[in-house]
């Protein structure tokens, strides 16, 4: 019983009265422990950098921004708990989150209930925007958009051309979604599909899958998984002399880290990224990209995290712009403002289009995608 009282008191004390000079709170739910802690921490760091940049330039509406970051432990049940804490305890007017589709989907019913908008910085499932939740605004591309963009702009850049493709994906919504969409795309381009293999998120030995892929006779292997497993795929593909050209999708491949950890095995691989920190001058808004990269490095964060971290950065910029346009830090006003924002982000222009069932549309921004190659231990444009 005493713990209950303590909990009650600590909660009550966290609810304070709002003064004009109080900072504006932005909530964020990220995996800081558990299986995807590394990537979640990168995104959280991106958000921290953004808050610092915004506050240095005077904040928004004359007030400072305060980031309230909660750990969802890479677990949907905990994700709901973070949402409850942020929405009901801290009463934030807008939240960011939640690294991954399941974690995001778990939070979504709470948004409807508390009527607070959420900027989704990482989630690839189409369900996020098609569930009829008008409080969701996604800035990352779902697999379908990524595949389409790949088909439109990057498909023809490969020589020799892609004739037969294989897939190796992590067995979660992200990997499965990517393999479905890229298979569809490849078929529409007249490309044959060879082996389609999955791997458990925590699997380290991928020899069986690679042995199968090696025999398929394909020329290109699309890999979708987190950076740790991608490193293993590259190393083990080299060990088994898998002949395919390897293309990683999903934008979470942190090529700098691959070069460091996979060494020679990373050479020749291609990577789809949503932010290319090596070529900030090629970004849609070079000055934004440069500001971000400088602020990131100044904080002492590892350069390898930039390709993930930018999502947190852009997420905060989007939320801040909406607060500014709304003229007040209130959830409904922020949501209305989100429909009309046009943010100059590190990735490019962020503006939301309607997606999902009529009358309850969610927002979806169409980000830019890039492909880079690792050559002789350096990241180059292919």
């Amino acid at each position: 019983m005493r713990t209950l009282i303590v909990l009650g008191i600590s909660l009550l004390s966290s609810v304070s009265y709002v003064h004009a000079s109080d900072p504006i709170k932005i909530g964020m739910s990220q995996p800081l422990t558990g299986d995807i802690a590394a990537a979640g921490t990168y995104v959280a760091n991106g958000a921290r950098v953004a808050v610092e940049v915004v506050n240095k330039s005077g904040g928004v509406l004359g007030r400072q921004i305060q980031l309230i970051l909660e750990d969802n432990k890479s677990n949907p049940k905990e994700a709901v708990a973070t949402a409850e804490k942020l929405l009901s305890g801290d009463k934030v007017p807008v939240i960011l989150g939640a690294w991954g589709s399941t974690l995001t989907l778990a939070i979504m019913p709470r948004l409807l209930e508390y009527k607070v908008p959420m900027v989704v910085e990482t989630a690839s499932s189409s369900k996020v925007t098609t569930s009829g939740n008008p409080w969701v605004f996604r800035i990352s591309p779902p697999s379908a958009i990524e595949a389409k963009a790949f088909g439109d702009t990057l498909f023809t850049k490969f020589t020799p051309a892609i004739k037969k493709a294989d897939m190796l994906v992590v067995n979660n919504d992200w990997g499965r979604g990517a393999s479905d969409e890229f298979t569809k795309l490849m078929r529409s381009k007249g490309v044959q599909i060879g082996a389609v293999e999955t791997m458990a998120p925590d699997a380290t030995d991928l020899s069986a899958q690679l042995a199968k892929i090696k025999q398929s006779g394909g020329d290109t292997l699309f890999v979708t998984t987190g950076i740790e497993q991608l490193t293993l795929v590259l190393k083990q593909a080299q060990e088994q002399r898998v002949p395919q050209r390897i293309v990683s999708t999903g934008g979470s491949s942190a090529p700098d880290q691959l070069i460091e950890q996979a060494g020679l095995a990373a050479n020749g691989s291609y990577h789809i990224v949503f932010f290319a920190p090596w070529f900030p001058e090629d970004a849609a808004h070079p000055e934004v990209a440069k500001t971000f990269i400088e602020a990131w490095k100044k904080k002492g964060y590892a350069a390898a995290g930039l390709t993930d971290g930018f999502r947190g950065y852009d997420g905060i910029l989007t939320a801040v712009q909406a607060i500014k346009d709304a003229g007040k830090a209130e959830p409904a006003a922020i949501r209305d403002a989100l429909w009309n924002v046009n943010v100059k982000g590190a990735n490019g222009d962020i503006k939301f289009e309607k997606a999902g069932p009529a009358g309850q549309e969610s927002g979806q921004s169409i980000p830019n995608i890039y492909v880079v190659q690792i050559k002789d231990g350096k990241v180059v444009k292919p």
Binding site: T33, G34, A208, A211, E228, E239
Partner: protein, 290 residues
């Protein structure tokens, strides 16, 4: 056919490390009656120490591995002394719970100390694989299998040829009688836990350069090691060795010819099948209801 050969080769490589993990766990269970859930964390610890020594501290690769294993043994001794010795009289559920608590704490200490970003251990072996026909294997993996074999063989020699080994096997059979026969139980338990921990740490240190080092790497390892142990029969060292190779084979062939999604379930499907069809275990003549 070519694919099958590659799968078989991979299975041997994988099986060797599973065996190494399995015998450590089965030894601890057999002698101490402790279902040790920190096993995977000692594996992780060995891997991180190998990284620290060979990576940032730039020690010689082989020296680094050796020291990492010794540190693993040391951690094992600390765990035994602080957590298990006071509970020697407790039942298995209690010690199991303590090791689960230690597992959660240790894992998050790794995360706290090293961060979540994966670490990679440099190694001196050429990265170009040995190729025989259409089958290929990396020199580093050959090294790992060789060391694993050496460890397994020297472990058998120790168990079967030394007085210490005989005392250990006696404790295995009956702790009370062996203590009457003059075996110092406390010292025996510490040594057993140290050896088991050392084997886990050496598996971690050996595999660190093959894979990458992350804080959560021990979870799967603990479960796999338990699978190996059950396959071979609890407390059965030969059984655990064979169980390791059986598991490696089941996973490779299962993933290669059935469905890669079920790869990590193979071990458990195998266990359930074994326990149902041959409740006494693949290799264990022991009583199962003990």
């Amino acid at each position: 056919m070519e694919q099958l050969l590659q799968h078989l080769l991979n299975a041997v490589v994988l099986g060797g490390t599973y065996a190494l993990l399995g015998i450590g766990l089965t030894l601890i269970f057999g002698v101490m009656r402790v279902a040790n859930f920190t096993h995977g964390e000692l594996y992780t610890f060995g891997a991180y120490m190998a990284y620290a020594l060979i990576g940032p501290l730039e020690l010689n690769f082989f020296v680094g591995l050796a020291i990492a294993v010794m540190l693993g043994i040391l951690l094992g001794i600390v765990i035994e002394f602080m957590l298990l010795r006071p509970l020697q009289k407790s039942d298995m559920d209690t010690t199991m719970l303590v090791t689960i608590g230690a597992w959660i704490a240790l894992q998050n200490m790794e995360l706290f100390g090293w961060g979540g970003v994966a670490k990679s251990v440099p190694h001196p072996f050429p990265t170009d694989p040995f190729v025989i026909g259409s089958v290929s294997v990396a020199p580093l993996r050959v090294f790992v299998v060789c060391v694993a074999m050496v460890l397994l063989v020297s472990f058998y020699l120790m168990i079967n040829r030394t007085t210490f080994g005989i005392a250990m096997r006696a404790t295995f059979q009956d702790p009370e009688v062996s203590s009457l026969m003059g075996v110092k139980i406390n010292r025996m338990f510490t040594l057993t836990f140290a050896i088991g921990s050392g084997l886990a740490a050496s598996a971690g240190a050996l595999l660190a350069p093959v894979f990458v080092v992350v804080p959560m790497m021990g979870d799967l390892v603990t479960l796999k090691a338990f699978a190996v142990v059950i396959l071979g029969g609890l407390g059965n060292i030969v059984g655990a060795t064979i169980g390791g190779f059986v598991l490696g084979l089941a996973e490779e062939l299962g993933a290669g010819y059935i469905d890669s999604g079920y790869r990590d379930a193979m071990g458990f499907i195998l266990i359930i099948a074994v326990l149902l069809l041959r409740p006494q275990g693949l290799f264990a003549p022991r009583e199962r209801t003990g």
